[in-house]
Symmetry: C2
Subunit: 426 residues, 2 copies
């Protein structure tokens, strides 16, 4: 059990920032067990500790952390769509259409993940298992998929349909056997153009059998839409996913910028979520997701970096670009635009909802403690420390907004996952 | 005289990146006097020095710098529109319309620059003079203005018309008397809503008398356009600036997102440039500058941070957001979208043209040496160093693109202004 005393900032209600000033928080076994404003004017360690001990007699206190004036605690942000093997070329290759980009950069880079000591059909599973192992080793929370493709990719990267299904099942079993609640396997057909109906049906059966998450790409770009139309005349990719049993409440579909109204309704009715990746969409979609409207229609929407479709690894960029995108929807309707508060909500609460992580996204008693300690103080006369400059009179809310807009990883001083401190930087 | 040997990257032709691999550059008295590919395969210091000494006998070599494989030299970027006194609140206040934002944040923040020991009519001049002094002290290149407003601002910030003109003349004289070619005064009427026709006419006369630069804001947003229409029925702000003598070849007008076709033609015919500030425009303009089209119509366009209308101080953000903006022009025409190369051109060559700095923007013999040394190497196992990750096989061009998209000030290891090394970081 540990105590944190200071400022907490989160967005439990979409579009609204809540600053919990000088609050006392107690975390036990990864769960927030106390969040109190009782001591807002009294940060005396003795008082705090004796209060906590009287509330939870017989427990052991492991630490008491005071968060200073230029620091605050925020919920961990949730990246709902990221391509691990594309990290190598993030920041480059930003000038070509989607299908060309996939063939020129993505498929070759990803196929390098092949382990030459293994047969072709297993290489992708081995790599994905290694990623799950690494996430576990680093005590992070991570949902990992093994890509499926049995057509229209580069030859070295195409799998036999049945082997692709069998390998996926082995991968699901491998990750599930970890019995680590932080690591979950995700069924990952790349997208309709590279997956035959037979493969999709097989994956749909696995999704049902194991009750696991599903992810893919949906209605992303003109060239991808045209390819689906060519392969499956008169069917949208939403309809194809639906009949394959791949639209479930545990499914997160990336992009959705070219969804038709009936597709949106299908996703809503299956409680399938969308991972909105605004930076990637600027480059590859040729269209902006009407996030505000789809949210009001009942669609659950998280944010994703889509690394390397988007060039930025930090979720702060997804927040910033969701705001920029919201200002640029063709013929904006009043209320279509939103600000950093709504963007941050989608990066935290929205992402948690998208992944059915109902104990994450904001700070409430009974919820899991995934959090960052942010520091926006300036090191006087030192080398540059981070992009945030604060001044006398800046409120905690202003410091938070400056961090969302101008901050970077240098501001992150501590990271907790499920109550465990996994990064501490002085 | 000094020698640099290594990779130089610039965009002398719009949209085209030129990588000068392993080139020898010699700079003397701030001017590039030699740029040679003769020693691309021979970086022997003795050979280089003896070659340079034979070309320039009798001169003194002060240094010989080898730029390593993960480093490259780029031209200094030129911010053509930035509000110094708004630095204090950059990153905040991003959720309100322009006219409201000005009254709630900008005018109060700027009016704090007032020096209480001076009479109201001089405070702004004193602050601007102090800024010019500071830029000079730091050996930077900087063009500085003293804002003029004689109506429609907060009371403490409005000047008497004639005093505003007189103070401007004193400010021009103060800066011109420095006789420092790096520091120039700029006549700076804020924008039409806050400047009476009498004030504008007086400033137009000063522009002609002293032959100095002019800057202001033009056609920025719906609410500002509506205000101009109310104050000056049947006249655009372009027309009002024109008849005041403020559209000159030394004028840079910020934004221009709401220009009418006839306004664009007026700017072109006066050889007046536009400072495009894409990040700011996302928040305040409600419209995107058709940069590609205006460029093809002959308009000179630089990029600006518009700090704090835009929340990012680094010009890299202006480049990135110019690319994002280009992908989101309503009903884009083929060719409207451009990539990091064109964005970088506008931040260097375009900015130099906008400010009539004809010896800046790219690397050629005879041009001034304003440059940055960029380092994209990763510090293994150290704390995070910067947002750029490079991998084996990354070409210099890929490293440059990654820096433009993901880099930050940590990558800047040296800064030269007019050949003088003003920042050196190990």
């Amino acid at each position: 059990m540990f105590i944190i005393y200071g400022n907490f900032i989160h967005t439990p209600v979409r579009g609204e920032l809540e600053v919990l000033s000088n609050h006392l928080m107690v975390v036990d076994q990864g769960i927030i067990v106390l969040l109190s404003s009782e001591f807002t004017n009294d940060a005396n360690p003795t008082t705090l500790v004796s209060h906590v001990m009287s509330k939870f007699p017989g427990t052991t206190l492991t630490s008491l952390l005071f968060v200073s004036r230029h620091q605050f605690i925020v919920p961990g942000m949730i990246d709902t769509h990221v391509h691990a093997p594309q990290f190598v070329f993030h920041g480059s290759a930003t000038g070509v259409p989607l299908m060309e980009w996939l063939h020129q950069n993505t498929f070759p880079a990803e196929s390098k993940m092949k382990d030459v000591d293994y047969a072709k059909t297993v290489w992708k599973r081995e790599a994905s298992q290694a990623l799950a192992d690494e996430i576990e080793r680093r005590r992070q929370r991570g949902y990992v998929g093994k890509i499926n493709m049995d057509r229209n990719s580069i030859p070295e990267y195409i799998e036999d349909t049945q082997e692709s299904i069998d390998e996926t099942e082995k991968f699901l079993q491998y990750v599930l056997e970890k019995k680590n609640p932080l690591i979950r396997p995700v069924i990952t057909p790349r997208f309709i153009p590279t997956c035959s109906p037979h493969l999709l049906a097989g994956l749909g059966e696995l999704a049902e059998k194991y009750g696991v998450h599903v992810q893919s790409h949906i209605a992303e770009s003109d060239d991808q839409m045209a390819f689906v139309e060519e392969l499956h005349p008169r069917e949208t990719d939403t309809e194809i996913f639906e009949k394959s049993g791949l639209l479930t409440p545990l499914t997160v579909m990336a992009h959705g910028t070219h969804l038709r109204p009936s597709d949106v309704q299908k996703l809503v009715s299956h409680r399938t979520a969308v991972a909105s990746c605004p930076l990637s969409n600027f480059f590859f979609s040729g269209k902006i997701l009407p996030l505000q409207r789809y949210h009001s229609e009942g669609l659950t929407i998280g944010l994703g970096s889509d690394l390397a479709g988007g060039y930025a690894a930090s979720m702060l960029h997804s927040v910033r670009n969701s705001v920029i995108a919201s200002r640029n929807i063709p013929s904006p309707q009043p209320g279509d635009a939103f600000d950093f508060r709504t963007g941050f909500w989608h990066a935290t609460v929205g992402g948690a909802k998208a992944l059915s992580l109902d104990k994450l996204g904001c700070f409430r008693v009974g919820m899991e403690f995934d959090a960052l300690m942010i520091d926006v103080s300036i090191v006087e006369d030192g080398p540059p420390t981070h992009g945030v400059d604060t001044f006398e009179g800046d409120t905690t809310e202003v410091m938070f907004e400056k961090w969302v807009n101008c901050g970077d990883e240098r501001n992150i001083k501590r990271v907790w996952v499920a109550g465990e401190l996994i990064l501490k930087r002085e």
